[in-house]
């Protein structure tokens, strides 16, 4: 058996080397995706263009706006009336407007205080919320500054001290890069395998394999082993880039990371095999792999979007998405450490899913023609 298997694996490797697109998926894809996400995608908003409308110039007004000029989160520009500022907001050149009314100084000294208007462009609501938070921060620092300067108790009744654990500088790269490894592994495991199996069926070379003495389990193993090795190679590349290029901290241990990744890769390969055993056509297998594995790994895995905030039925669906468990492990191993209370249940779920996918493939693939 082992000699037959060897032959098949050798054939598979020769095929991988001859058609560069498999190597591209395994090595070029991680490179491109990590570069794109590491450098291109950032949720850290700084220098947000903010319009300030001061209807009358006064010492109080410039004192107040100074806290916005000083903030590294804003890049301010002045407008003399609200109309012009709103036009600028519509065309996208500024994201928010702060309006200080004519009687700002006068009202400031009255018991009710002065209202300051903050107009947000709500189209990009995530940025809008972040701006609103930054404006509150600037207000708080102005209050502290003003109370110190005038000796007045101007402070807010309740102050919030925030502590962000595991990623105190809030670098979005620190969670995007580990999460992306799950997407890459899904691509290598599921998309590549689905395409490769479908190609054998489409070209008719599967029939040639079927008349050989190879058993079906040997055929499946012969496909699994080369692509498993290719996937682990892609993983090693991704981890190296995460650590040395993007400086994401690895607080857990490397062997836990690789062991869990191997587990996930087997699950992903199982998904790919299952897809190709149902769709024996490259176009359809590719589509199904993208819809069934790549997209969920992106959207439904908790990689970017919080799972608890999704509607109930979508949350139920996420339980069968293998990437969900892997993302939880990756984010924890990178940013927290070997936290077994997270790793063990998620690894358990991966084992279960791998068994289900491989079992279904086994049942679905018969050594016969239709």
């Amino acid at each position: 058996m082992s000699m037959r298997l060897n032959g098949l694996i050798r054939k598979e490797f020769i095929q991988i080397i001859r058609d560069p697109s498999s190597i591209a998926i395994a090595f070029l894809m991680p490179l491109v995706l990590l570069m794109l996400f590491g450098y291109g995608v950032s949720l850290d908003s700084e220098h947000i263009p903010l319009g300030i409308v001061t209807e009358s110039n006064s010492a109080d007004a410039s004192d107040f706006t100074a806290s916005f000029h000083a903030s590294r989160y804003f890049k301010t520009s002045h407008f003399s009336d609200t109309r012009g500022a709103v036009d600028a907001m519509m065309s996208g050149s500024i994201s928010a407007v702060i309006v200080l009314r004519q009687d700002f100084s006068k009202q400031l000294r009255q018991p009710g205080g002065s209202p300051v208007q903050l107009l947000l462009n709500g189209v990009d609501e995530n940025t809008a919320r972040i701006i609103s938070g930054y404006v509150d921060g600037s207000l708080q620092s102005w209050l502290e500054h003003a109370s110190a300067a005038r000796g007045l108790p101007l402070e807010l009744p309740v102050k919030v001290e925030q502590r962000i654990w595991f990623n105190s500088e809030l670098r979005s790269r620190n969670f995007l890069v580990p999460g992306l490894i799950a997407v890459i592994m899904t691509l290598i495991g599921a998309l590549l395998t689905a395409l490769v199996m479908a190609r054998e069926w489409e070209r008719g070379t599967m029939e040639a394999l079927l008349v050989t003495p190879l058993s079906m389990s040997e055929v499946i193993l012969g496909k699994l082993i080369p692509y498993f090795l290719l996937g682990m190679g892609g993983l090693a590349l991704s981890v190296a880039m995460a650590l040395w290029l993007f400086h994401v901290p690895l607080r857990g241990s490397l062997w836990v990371l690789f062991a869990c990744s191997a587990l996930f890769l087997i699950t992903a390969l199982g998904m790919g095999l299952l897809i190709s055993s149902v769709a024996k056509n490259q176009f359809i297998a590719g589509q199904v792999a993208i819809i069934g594995t790549f997209l969920p790994a992106f959207i439904l895995s908790g990689f970017i979007f919080d799972i608890d905030s999704m509607p109930g039925i979508v949350r139920l669906i996420t339980h069968v998405i293998a990437a969900r468990y892997y993302v939880a492990i990756l984010q924890t191993v990178f940013l927290v450490g070997d936290e077994w209370s997270v790793i063990l249940p998620n690894a358990g779920a991966l084992v279960l899913l791998a068994a289900v996918f491989l079992g279904l493939t086994w049942k679905n693939t018969r050594k016969r023609l239709e």
């Binding site: 291109g40 850290d44 519509m90 000294r109 462009n121 189209v123 009744p157 919030v160 654990w165």
Partner: protein
């Protein structure tokens, strides 16, 4: 010439739609993506699990905590009596946030001294962490202005926030117009990219070459079906956005379709370029993928272009999706007048013409 192209178009549509699986692939995946994106892609926080560790037994802290409990954004998981349990709860991901209130909170507040509370957030997903802190800040802000009103303490400035174009800051309103662009791109590029590769792989492309069709006729015959399918796709997704997801469509339909048509020039051009280079379907699919993933990520679909490093921002200038998304969001949510859309429309037209011309050139050179 027109008749020959028409015949080729009919053949293309037949090849796409002839078998049941092929038809399903055109209809089902975009629908699934629309539903998944529409419901799951959201930055609105709901039911964030949190724990409370409060050493204060006064009224004020109880009022503040009641405000958290009453919010649909948060779900109370545990009331801690022991400080040492905080770390365990956060590390094992049972809660995303812990509110910590010190012993003197109520007495500080009553005596007019600033009272502090601590918000601990799990930073594993730093965007969620920031939103959690912001949501908590909003609740504290409301508590502050209530307290100031009741106790006559002076906060000299209060901020009145208004969100234009999306008053309730719904994530869905931001993402769904973007999905119109995303799905139009995805379907059009896939259909055109694989059409030639499939014929090459199956050997029928040679048959096409010995027909009286000239290369340019073959190109047009391959381009038009992609174009028509793109328009159909955009229309269906727009209808779903308005009728199913109730996203407002404030601007003119005419401006929307001008945007769609100009964008399709680039999408079809890109698909044909990939098509003329790829020899197998796997290469075609891969090429489509290598084009689409950067196009989507560097378009402002999910994260603002402004946050990118300036060199990456320059790269996005050649990305047609970038302009199309501005047009879509402008027409849907802002009702942007046509004259303000012109700065987006002319680059779209330019990129479209260039990519079609390149596709034609590649096609002629890679044909034989």
């Amino acid at each position: 010439m027109g008749k020959r192209i028409f015949a080729l178009m009919i053949k293309e549509f037949l090849a796409l739609l002839k078998d049941r699986k092929g038809r399903l692939v055109l209809i089902v995946p975009p629908m699934i993506q629309l539903v998944v994106f529409g419901y799951a892609a959201t930055f609105d926080l709901k039911r964030v699990p949190y724990a409370v560790y409060s050493e204060d037994r006064g009224h004020a802290s109880r009022d503040l905590l009641a405000a958290f409990k009453g919010s649909s954004s948060f779900a109370l998981k545990a009331q801690l009596n022991d400080e040492s349990r905080i770390a365990g709860l956060v590390e094992s991901r049972q809660v995303l946030m812990v509110i910590r209130i010190g012993r003197n909170f109520s007495s500080d507040l009553l005596s007019g001294k600033p009272a502090a509370i601590q918000i601990i957030a799990d930073g594993r997903n730093s965007n969620t962490a920031m939103l959690v802190v912001n949501y908590a800040g909003t609740i504290v802000k409301a508590f502050n202005s209530d307290w100031a009103a009741k106790h006559g303490s002076a906060i000299p400035v209060h901020i009145e926030t208004r969100s234009w174009f999306n008053p309730n800051l719904e994530s869905r309103w931001f993402f769904i117009p973007g999905i119109v662009g995303l799905l139009t791109l995805l379907v059009t590029v896939l259909v055109t990219a694989l059409s030639v590769a499939r014929e090459r792989e199956q050997g029928t492309f040679d048959q096409l070459l010995v027909t009286p069709l000239s290369p340019i006729e073959i190109l047009i015959g391959k381009a038009l079906p992609g174009f028509l399918i793109g328009v159909g796709e955009a229309t269906v997704v727009t209808l779903a956005a308005v009728l199913w997801f109730k996203v407002p469509l404030l601007g003119s339909i005419l401006a929307l379709y001008i945007g769609i048509l100009l964008f399709l020039l680039s999408a079809v051009g890109m698909g044909l370029m990939i098509s003329s280079i790829a020899v197998t379907q796997q290469q075609g699919l891969l090429g489509a993928f290598f084009f689409m993933v950067p196009a989507i990520i560097l378009s402002g679909f999910a994260t603002p272009i402004r946050n990118m490093p300036s060199i990456v921002q320059d790269i996005t200038l050649v990305n047609p999706l970038r302009y199309f998304l501005v047009v879509l969001r402008g027409v849907f949510l802002q009702g942007t007048p046509f004259r303000l859309l012109l700065p987006e429309l002319w680059p779209l037209a330019l990129i479209g013409v260039i990519s079609l011309a390149t596709a034609r050139w590649l096609f002629r050179n890679r044909m034989y």
